[in-house]
Structures are given as C-alpha cells and as structure tokens.
C-alpha cells in the first residue's frame, strides 16, 4: 500500500482569509495534517464567511488564546513536534508572542516556516497594511483587466485573484522546501509577497512598456492580435459570447457563419494585420450579427466552423457541465459541502483527498490531549481559564 505524498507532515496553520488557507488545504489534500490555530475570542474565527468551508476542508481546528501567557507556550510545544508553520500576520505579531521564525527554529531546527504578506517581510513597504483586493490594483492588474471606475466594477477586483494565485505560488515554495528537507534534513524560511505573486503573471505588460512597444498587452476585453475579438451580446437574458479570430481561415469561417461571404473578400479584412487595423469595423459586424442570435445557435455555428468562441458562463453552468462534473474538480464532501479539489489529476483520477472542514475547536482533545499530553483536568482548567478558547 502506498503512502499519501505528504503523510506524516504536520503543519501548524495560523493563516486566515484566503491565500494561506487555500495553500494548507492543498497540502491537506496531499496528505499533510493541518492544525488550524483559531480562537473563539477572535471574530475572524467565529464569524466564518461563506467561502470558509471551501478553503478549509481536510484540516483540524484547535482554539487557543494567544494573549494568555500559556497560549504561546502551548503552541511552542506543538511546533516542537510539527514540521511546518504557515502564517500571514502583520509584521511583528508573531514575534510579540515569541512565535517568530528565529525563536521557533531554536526549538525545531528543521522547521519549514512560511510567511506570506501583502508586500513581503523585507523592503521599505514591509509594514504596509494590505488586502488582496487592493493588491490587485497595486499590482497593475486592475489597469489591464478592465476600465477603472468609481463603482469598482468589472476591473479585476472580484472574485479574489491575488489570493488564490498567491496560494499556488505558496504551495509551490512549500513543496520544494519539503523535498529539500526530505533530501537534506534542512528546514527553510520562506518570505512570500502577494504583490509579487500577482505581478509575476503580468510580464508582457512590463516588457511592452520597457521596450516601447506600441502593441498593447491583452486586456480583459480582447486579445490585441486577434480581430474581431471580444465578448459580444447575444439575444436573451444576459447572454454573451466570447469570440476571438486570429487567422484568415477563422475569418473566412466567421464570414460563412454570419452568411456574409462577401466580407471574406473585403480588403479591410484581407489579413490579420488589416483586421487589427480595422478592428472597430470588424467588431461592429460581429456584434450586429450576434445581437439577434440565440447564443447556443451562434456558438454551434462558430465552433462547428473552427472559430474560437465560448459562452460566458456562471459557476452553476460550469459545475454542472459534464466536463467538470465527471472530472471531480468540485467535489461534494461527506458533510454535503461543495469544495474545490486540486487543479491537476493523475491517470488514476487522484485529485486530493478532502475531509469536511472542521468545527471551531473540534480537535482540541486531539491537539492538547493526544499530542501535548495534557490530561482532561488540565484541558478543562485551561479552558475555564480562557486559554483554550
């Protein structure tokens, strides 16, 4: 029988909101034991947002009040028998409790310590107060996804992008550190920046600016080297079709689908460069045609002719699509909650194993009794004293 990839790896998880929890959820799916450090005295732990269950499946939860002197001491004892710490507190918070890397590395030399923050733990802006939504603007993303507007609509702020992208980078760093630890016995300190995580996916924006390129990078509205290209209104309630024509064959196929074969000979649209030059005219022609087309019929007409096109779908249509339903990306867990599996799959169908998310403090007996060796009386006393809360 094979072992789960990360079996035996215990992670003390201080992280909250999205990026950190999504990282540790992925680790849980690969077999790591994740122990969330929560507290019933903290609003962010007691008032769980709707997405909380999605990013916390497969973990254990214990409650401990860091502001009580015994709290940090108990956590240090837990970390002494753990392999990894994941956190995203503001700078200096963990040091205040004697739970910073420098202190913990003396307790556990091979500890992997992952510290994620908005702008990174070093540098002139290291103390900046940051939220993922604001970093999507600071990273340059909002400027290219949509058009800036005071309503903050359709400009790449929602849904969260920086957080799940950071989680992918974070788990990547962690998995590399785990491999290094298995080979060398060494731990590692990882300082991860959410800002950098987002900017790393926008290289062309930077290159075109630095090289003085006149061609824009792709925006959320269209692809710059395709024309027509965009998301067009169809007949019906909020029905939209994304279409992007990149070459002559696709253009001729589009003309055929629109039953306008004469456009294939129109000099304005003779080749890709001409079509980009006359983008507005090409877009208008397509928009006028699609405006009166039922989306399903138009999609079929385009796809059957090899024109890149897709319905703009909501998550319900995505989850219920047989591609996703059969592929197991959005599993229903044992408690009935809907979750998100690993974004890859092996040939045997493995996408991670996920238990339902924990109740607050559900694993106090396991953590404080089984792992730390406290007896029932001690646990009760510490609970009454407000430490295990």
């Amino acid at each position: 029988m094979t072992q789960k990839t990360l079996a035996g790896l215990r992670v003390v998880d201080f992280s909250w909101v999205l990026a950190g929890p999504m990282t540790t959820k992925m680790l849980a799916g690969m077999g790591a034991e994740i122990i969330k450090i929560e507290s019933s005295t903290r609003r962010e732990h007691t008032q769980r947002q709707p997405w909380w269950a999605v990013v916390n499946a497969g973990k254990k939860s214990c409650t401990i009040n860091l502001s009580r002197p015994q709290g940090p001491e108990l956590i240090r004892r837990l970390i002494a028998q753990s392999d990894m710490v994941v956190e995203n507190f503001s700078n200096g918070v963990l040091a205040k409790f004697g739970l910073d890397y420098a202190t913990l590395a003396k307790i556990r030399a091979d500890l992997i310590f992952v510290s994620a923050s908005g702008t990174g733990r070093e540098g002139p802006q290291r103390d900046s107060l940051a939220y993922g939504s604001l970093l999507q603007a600071y990273s340059g993303r909002a400027s290219v996804v949509g058009t800036l507007n005071e309503r903050v609509e359709a400009m790449g702020i929602l849904p969260a992008w920086t957080d799940p992208i950071t989680a992918l980078w974070e788990s990547c760093a962690v998995l590399a550190a785990i491999r290094h630890r298995r080979v060398s016995g060494e731990g590692a300190y990882i300082d991860l920046s959410m800002l950098e995580s987002t900017v790393a996916l926008l290289p062309e924006l930077l290159f075109r600016e630095a090289l003085g390129s006149e061609t824009p990078t792709a925006t959320g509205a269209r692809e710059p080297d395709a024309a027509p290209s965009g998301c067009f209104r169809c007949a019906g309630d909020d029905a939209w079709l994304a279409v992007s024509v990149s070459d002559d064959r696709q253009w001729r196929a589009l003309c055929d689908a629109m039953r306008k074969p004469e456009l294939a000979a129109d000099s304005r649209f003779a080749d890709a460069v001409s079509r980009v030059t006359h983008r507005a005219a090409a877009d208008d022609l397509l928009a006028a045609w699609l405006r009166v087309q039922p989306p399903a019929r138009a999609l079929d007409a385009l796809q059957s002719r090899g024109v890149p096109a897709a319905r703009s779908r909501h998550i319900g249509a995505v989850i219920e699509d047989p591609y996703f339903a059969d592929g197991g990306l959005f599993p229903v867990l044992a408690d009935g909650s809907r979750s998100i599996a690993l974004p890859w799959r092996d040939s045997e169908g493995f996408r991670g194993d996920f238990a339902p998310p924990p109740r607050l403090g559900e694993h106090n007996d396991y953590v404080f009794g089984e792992l730390l060796g406290l007896d029932a009386h001690e646990i009760e006393t510490l609970t009454e004293a407000g430490v295990l809360r």
């Binding site: 990839t5 802006q125 107060l129 939504s133 603007a137 340059g140 909002a142 800036l148 359709a154 790449g156 929602l158 849904p159 992008w161 974070e170 990547c172 760093a173 998995l175 550190a177 785990i178 491999r179 298995r182 060494e186 590692a188 990882i190 920046s193 800002l195 950098e196 995580s197 900017v199 790393a200 996916l201 926008l202 290289p203 924006l205 290159f207 075109r208 090289l211 990078t217 959320g220 692809e223 965009g230 998301c231 939209w240 990149s246 796809q303 096109a309 319905r311 779908r313 319900g316 995505v318 989850i319 591609y323 990306l329 909650s337 809907r338 690993l342 974004p343 890859w344 799959r345 493995f350």
Partner: protein, 427 residues
Amino acid sequence: MNAANSTLQARAIAAPLAGVRVIEWSHSMPAAFCARVLRDLGAQVLKLEPPGTGDALRRIGPFAPDAPYGNDAALFAYLNHGKESATLDPSHPQGAALFRRLIETADLLITSDATGLAELQLDSDTLRRIQPALVTLAVTSWATRAESGTPSAFTDFTLTHHAGYAFHQARPVHAPDQQAPVACADREVALATGVAAANAALWGLLEAQMNGHGRSIECAELDVIAHLLIEPVADYGRGERSFSRLREELQGTEVAGGLIWLLPCKDGFVMISPREQHQWERWVELLGNPTWSRDETLCGERTARNENWMTLQDEMSKWTREHTRADVFERAQAARVACFPVSGARDLLENAQLNARGFFDRWQGAGNAPLSMPGLPFSMRTTSGAELPRAREVVSPVLGSANRAVFEARLGLSAEEVETLRRHGVV
C-alpha cells in the same frame, strides 16, 4: 578575500530541487513556465526544441530591438531562462531512440499535450518500463479525459469565459446589459496554469520519492482557471443558482471585497479600504475631520458608510484630488489605513518595494539595456543559510546550445554521429 567574495561565500545558493532532471518537450507557455519555475528552484531542465525553427514562442513578440534574431523574444526569455536547449525531432526513428535514452535518466517529463507521447508509442506503461520513477506531466488547455465537449477552437480569452472566470469578474455590475464579462489580462491564464503545473510536478516528484513509482499527471488550463473561483463555488454550495449580474442598489461597495473606494488623485488613482471602525476614524482624521465626517447617519458606522458610499466617494475625492498617489498612499499607510496606488506598467518597473526586494531579474539578451523580468515571488533561506538567488542576471537559451553536452557528453555520441543526425534533420 575581497568584500564581494565574502558576501558570495556568506550567501550560498539554495537549490531545493538540486539533482532533479527535467525534460521539457512542449510548445506552450504554461508548460514552459512550469519548467522555468522548477529551474528557478534548482532543477536541471533540458528543453527539447524542433530542429531548425526551435520553439514557436521564440517568434512571439515583444522583441528586444538590439538582440540577435531568434534570441530577441522577451516572453520566450521570461519562460525559458536558465534552461538548456537541445534540438531533437522525436518523430524521426533515430530521434525517438535518443528521446528514450534521455528519458532513462530523467525524473520528470513535461509535455504540452497528452497525445504526443502516444504517437511515439510512449504510453505510460512503456515510460515506466524505461524509467519506473519517471513522472510525466501533460500541461494542456482542455483535459483529455473529456471525450466530448472539447471545442474545436479556443484561445485563452475564450477559455476564460468558458471556465466562468470572466462572468464572475464582471459581477455584480449596475448595467449588465451593457457591461460585458471580462477575461483575464496579459498572460495570466497561461502563467497561472504554469504555476499550478509546477505544483503538480512537485507533487509527482514527492510521490515518486516516497513511493518509488512515477505518476502520469495532467494539468489543464480550463481546470486551473475554474478552480480559482472560490467565492462563486461557495455561493453555489449555499444553493445559489441564478447568478444575476445586476448590482442591487443597497449593496454598496461591500460587493467589491470589503468597503473599497477608488479615489482620484492629481496623477492617477488610489484604492483604499478603511473597513474597520478604527481605520475609518484614522482616515477621516487624515482628511482633517471634515464636517461631513461627523454626520453619524452618513458615515457613523460601517453599514452607513456602505449605504452612502457614493456620497462619501465624492466627499473624500475632494481631498485626494489635491494630492498625488504617493502622498495619499504614504500618509494613509502611516495612519495604518489600507491604501495603495493603482499602478501602471511604468509604476511597477520603478516600484521601490519590488526593486528593494530584488524581485526583478535582468535579462541580458535585450542589448544595451537589460530588461527587467519578474522573478520568483518569494525568497527562501534554508537552515544552513543558503538562499534562492534574486535579482539575477538571466539569459535565454540559444537554440541547440546544449546539443554537444547532451548528445556527446551525456549520451556518448561522437561528433561525427551528431553531425550525421544534424544532416538528417534529427538534431
């Protein structure tokens, strides 16, 4: 010993994937980026390119005007720096034989489609016979598990709509009839998939390390982009099915992720989020405690601020319009209020934080002036003090520059044999 040498000695280079041998046989950005991330982490990556033409990504702009032809593509450099490049045509029988020999000593094979290996009669069973611990990773657009429903044509743009991300990125809006869904920008779809694929590769390598046998893994762009939809999946899980995009009048700015305002400045915009009461109080203090800020019904509590967000937008804008972005950012942060400028490309290249942290590598292939390229978004220091390098000088691999090292030194072919293979178009 001079100071520079001393510093170099003090900072040993961390390479958490040292000893991992990767072969990249792909023609896609996600697969190339996946391999580059692994290279950054210390793996040895051999990129196999078609003889003669090389990877098609070498011919995609933007180009550095002073760089030599074939090595002037900035995006190719970003996706491939640090790798070795060898040319090989595995569809040729002799090429296939060499390909198999390379696999014998590889830990990971990255491809950009799941069918290419089958065409070479290299199904997973055959590959495992060649190298039992080999991990194979296909980085695709659409998972090949889907026997139906794969569209005949798509781009990253249309894929983002199909995955649901574009719809939710334009939800809610006040006029859904006029406001189209918006896709991701730049190369986000491809590169996000590359990072996810790097995770898949690392999982496969750890799995092989623990259990001794390699896995066949697939990581598809469509799955990666759909899996990012955390909040919408939660909404679906709670029973929502209609997913109207219409913004309700009383939703305020909470719908934008927690009481957010985009405020105009002298030279652009800032975005602020004084969502907690204490943050709000410090923010209006920074604004000079104007009269309106003392109106309890207007902004006394968070719910009031949310309901009256547009009035507050106008009032706050009067102050921010008199200041630069940098001024508002620095003063707000000094008051512990979450605030950042809205950046453009030039802002990012000159960003003090990014530069101070050594985030940008410098591509030396651009000619006179090195081009800044984003590096890994994290630093790593091992227990012994070794660190992942940052602010590196990087170069993109010259097509076939590793041919001799690979075919002669590694596989033991003579120079004459390699020359014969070259004449036959195999290498």
